[in-house]
Subunit: 350 residues, 2 copies
């Protein structure tokens, strides 16, 4: 790994403080902010200051620890009841990100196992659990990178959407992890990054972190991906995921589904990369994934200037679902899954 | 036609003055600006203050008249030489828009026919010719609207890209003309408008003019079109065109090709609407159409705020080419052309 990359940490817990890199201020400002309360954490997730399914999970775990730390009761039952309440509150910050629920459930479960411990001991255990979630995520990203690398080759050009990079995880990212590993091995890898409207995570974040690490990246608007594919210069599409259903249908940032259709039309492999915590076997099909709709202002006044008439009707879904038929492979830390996805995904948990 | 619509004129020549509605200031400001010199006209076309292939043609025709008016020589040969020079200069303002060349050639040809007239008579003739170009365009838009209406039905929902509306033409538009006629007939027509990055003509202009005329319009980001199509609510896609090659391949605003691929994947008819002046039989295939690349700032700092890191590589093609195989029909003022397009398009000129 390049030493520059090592320094980018979107969520960190240092000197008893939860600190996040405020991603809404990138790329112009590298601004770290301290989150003191569970409300601060909810707000940071809701307003996308911390974003990316794994990073949200990590922030939520630390957020729940902060809430737990401040519970004044020494009574185990009362502590657990309050913890559950805080957990539900944090879960309401982003309805689609399964890692959020996964991290919160894991924290709650840890507390449930500790009936024989004192509340103050449990608080220490919860902090350790949050650290573990963070450190395991970093190790997972590296494993995803290693697996993804098997699908790439030196000299390839890859298209990505949104930001599934180091900023979205503990470090290294999911979709971007293979690209960082490739760069580290001296491969000549080129990346086209969709800007990703409405919130421009591709323009603001992906180009920022890739170029900081010396990866050759070119920014395009979302509607240019088809033309770039037609030129024959894209060898693969790699994107992250917010939730993978049992059959392989994948919810990810709005625009992913369209890219998958375009990739198929141009015979370009379409890869999803994500940790197994993003796979939700209880959700059978894509149709069962709730799709968050966000405020119209994200579209009509995103660039600091109003860009559409007042009062205009707007449709602003934050995610779409890519049917498994359009997915070439799902890259996880435990291995690469190809069709039939239902069997392959189930197999990861056996 | 609704009376509100009648009032929108993007290019007008009144009291011996060329006046344009500055489309870069929409939707927040309805700002008309006077163009006194050929340099003003070149600048207005180059900076997209006047945009849309037919409106560019109209502005260029008046622009060439203004230049002709100010030629001081009374010598016919000298006048024509200077006129040609001014015409070449105006032609350099937008390399892809064939209407620009078409209008300028028509003006030049008119002057060439008038060897027996005095220069001052020719100046009057050139102004009349520019008026004719404008008035013929309005009549053409209505004819395109009538033809397009044959492909639609009451209750339909249509997706459009960029702005091929009244603002892009003398009045009524090309792709939007059938929608205005439908509205005028009391049909219940709904429109989804792509915002159309980088310059957001859909968000700024299409929603502005449609909603002003009472048409039900919903704004989406370009990367949401695929999801909206998958929901099954889009009955047809209608877009304009900047140049149609002899085989039907069509250059239009970047993003059009991707939409055509998506429409095909969802079994949605994909219509191109444009005047026959946009058809360039001398350009045999889409590959022969030059594609203008524009400045990276349009993507990285389009609306008052920098949205990508400094110095990042950017690819910014203004147009893409949709192969004729993806086009269901090309709607012109002279009729509707379907495959085989080469024969049908040629037939329009016989």
């Amino acid at each position: 790994m390049t030493s520059t990359l090592e320094k980018i940490q979107s969520v960190k817990y240092e000197h008893d403080k939860l600190i996040i890199l405020d991603q809404t201020k990138l790329p112009m400002e590298t601004f770290y902010t301290k989150l003191d309360t569970i409300e601060d954490v909810w707000d940071a997730i809701f307003h996308l200051k911390v974003r990316g399914a794994p990073a949200i999970g990590i922030a939520a775990a630390y957020g729940l620890y902060i809430a737990a730390r401040d519970i004044e009761s020494d009574n185990y039952e009362e502590f657990c009841m309050k913890l559950k309440k805080h957990s539900s509150y944090l879960a309401s910050s982003r309805p689609t990100a399964v890692n959020l629920f996964w991290a919160l459930n894991r924290m709650e479960a840890r507390a449930m196992e500790c009936r024989d411990k004192s509340v103050s001991e449990i608080k220490v255990i919860l902090l350790t659990e949050a650290h573990n979630i963070r450190n395991e995520d970093e190790a997972m990203c590296i494993a995803i990178g290693e697996n993804g690398l098997k699908l790439l080759a030196n000299g390839m050009t890859v298209l990505t959407h949104c930001n599934a990079g180091g900023l979205a995880t503990a470090q290294y990212g999911t979709a971007l992890a293979p690209l960082y590993l490739a760069k580290d091995r001296g491969w000549d890898i080129k990346v086209y990054a969709d800007e990703t409207r409405p919130l421009l995570q591709g323009a603001r974040l992906t180009t920022w972190e890739l170029s900081r690490s010396g990866v050759d990246v070119t920014l395009i608007c979302d509607n240019m991906a088809a033309m770039v594919m037609k030129k024959g210069i894209i060898d693969a599409v790699i994107v992250g995921c917010d939730r993978v259903a049992a059959n392989g249908d994948t919810a990810n940032k709005i625009g992913t589904y369209g890219l998958a259709v375009l990739a198929k039309a141009h015979n370009i492999p379409f890869y999803i990369a994500g940790p197994t915590s993003t796979i939700d076997l209880k959700t059978l099909r894509g149709e069962d994934i709730p799709i968050e709709e966000r405020h119209e202002d994200e579209i009509t006044c995103a660039f600091g200037k109003r860009t559409a008439p007042e009062g205009i009707k707007v449709y602003n879904p934050a995610f779409d679902v890519t049917p498994h038929q359009l997915i070439t492979a799902i890259i996880t830390e435990k291995g690469i899954v190809t069709a039939p996805f239902d069997e392959g995904l189930k197999g990861l948990f056996e």
